[in-house]
Point group: C2
């Protein structure tokens, strides 16, 4: 039991329940000591307010790569702030088809899908060993009602998710394969930058298949697009290590519509 076989999918054993004793920690000061304050729920709160948040965020949960933070159908009790690590969320159709709906990194909030039906509607899976702060939702609402800044910021976080979903729809609905991948890379780059990492060099934690699922493409198409970008000197790919050589070039891919609608006024 000390050696844990790496779980790649549908980990059967110790992450079925919502809380696994071994992976839960008590902590004294959660948010007030956290370096993700500026990205996460505490954003915009005063120090005193953040200290009140601490009382909420009393447990953390550690997940090994491949483990589920929650599964579709699980009771909704808490939302989760990612402290370290990387996640994906995906939805399942009855016929077995699935779709990755997002990739989440440090400072981002998971679990808001569960509020509406009091049941989670997607799976959240750690793509690397990760740690999340557990934020019991009832308590969050309690504190929100006492602290208007927190309430407002939480609304912004939910709204941000809605706005993010809009761009994914735009991506899936209107963009060609290489545009999608360019958008994906630029989005990652931007989010890494925000977190103080390199904008141009990073490690993908997901497979080509997961990227493809997110972008509505097959893994082969993703792979070909990577190769093509490399041929064109836009990026250097080495397995999961990506180096962006021409950020502006990638952006051009997005804004310059190669072929369509030649009859627009092109204003602004």
């Amino acid at each position: 039991m000390t050696q844990i076989k790496r779980v790649t999918e549908c980990a059967p054993s110790d992450d079925i329940g919502n809380v696994v004793p071994l992976t839960v920690h008590s902590l004294k000061a959660a948010c007030s000591q956290c370096n993700l304050q500026e990205l996460c729920l505490p954003l915009g709160l005063s120090e005193a307010e953040i200290e009140r948040l601490d009382s909420l965020v009393s447990t953390r949960r550690k997940l090994k790569r491949g483990n589920h933070l929650y599964r579709t159908g699980a009771d909704f009790e808490a939302i989760y702030a990612i402290k370290t690590g990387f996640f994906k969320t995906d939805v399942l159709m009855e016929d077995g088809r699935d779709q990755v709906t997002g990739f989440q990194m440090a400072g981002e909030i998971l679990g808001m899908d569960g509020i509406s039906l009091e049941t989670h509607t997607c799976n959240a899976v750690a793509l690397e060993d990760s740690e999340v702060c557990v934020i019991p939702f009832a308590q969050l609402e309690q504190l929100s009602s006492e602290m208007r800044t927190l309430q407002h910021h939480f609304h912004k976080v939910m709204s941000r998710e809605i706005v993010r979903d809009q761009s994914v729809m735009m991506l899936l609905g209107t963009m060609r394969a290489e545009e999608r991948l360019a958008a994906f890379l630029l989005n990652l780059s931007q989010r890494f930058t925000t977190r103080g990492y390199s904008a141009t060099e990073f490690h993908l934690r997901m497979t080509r298949e997961e990227i493809g699922s997110y972008l509505g493409l097959k893994l082969e198409t993703v792979s070909r697009a990577f190769s093509h970008f490399q041929e064109n000197g836009l990026i250097a790919v080495q397995q999961k290590h990506i180096r962006i050589l021409d950020l502006a070039g990638l952006r051009t891919l997005l804004t310059h519509t190669p072929l369509p609608t030649p009859q627009r006024s092109r204003g602004a």
Copy 2:
């Protein structure tokens, strides 16, 4: 000025501002008299609580077909509950491509995209003459903090939007053209049912192009799919009048994956 030319796109004149005097009404009892209580924001509130909501919802706004409720970039000040009518929301890319991100009907809430950046990130356009209740957001937050049931229900409404977006992503990412259209029709049917209208016979308020944009397809493909459904006796189409003849058949289209992934265990 009494005769208003039907505005089809980018109405230039009287809907630029956020509020048009002529189309705003004061009202005494908004929610407590409204027959949409069970669908809309008041859901789950007591009568007394609903009466407190009334004070919030003091203005309505009427929109002619084609007019914008709000535009991308407009200051966010309020969310809107649809009292009567039908809307679409769409997002614009810099290069002119756009994507319909949703169709909204009575009882549904518009505008939550604006919370995160205090600016709307999509356009909301009336697809028929419509009326919305204006809910000033600052006041909604104020009242939410005093009324936990309202706060909680509002969170559910936002979360529901996130869940809806997940299914749109699934649709755009994994479904074939006819599956998308079937899903679209079934979704409409379901929502009409909820509102007491026929599940099997309704009038589409949007064009084939708008349907296509929403579904990530071209209008020709939408049209062909309609024709094909009709040939198969699933629906009867007559311009924008749709009659569903075989609801179960439409559902089968969704769950029976015709060709792909023959190597799954098919469990549950």
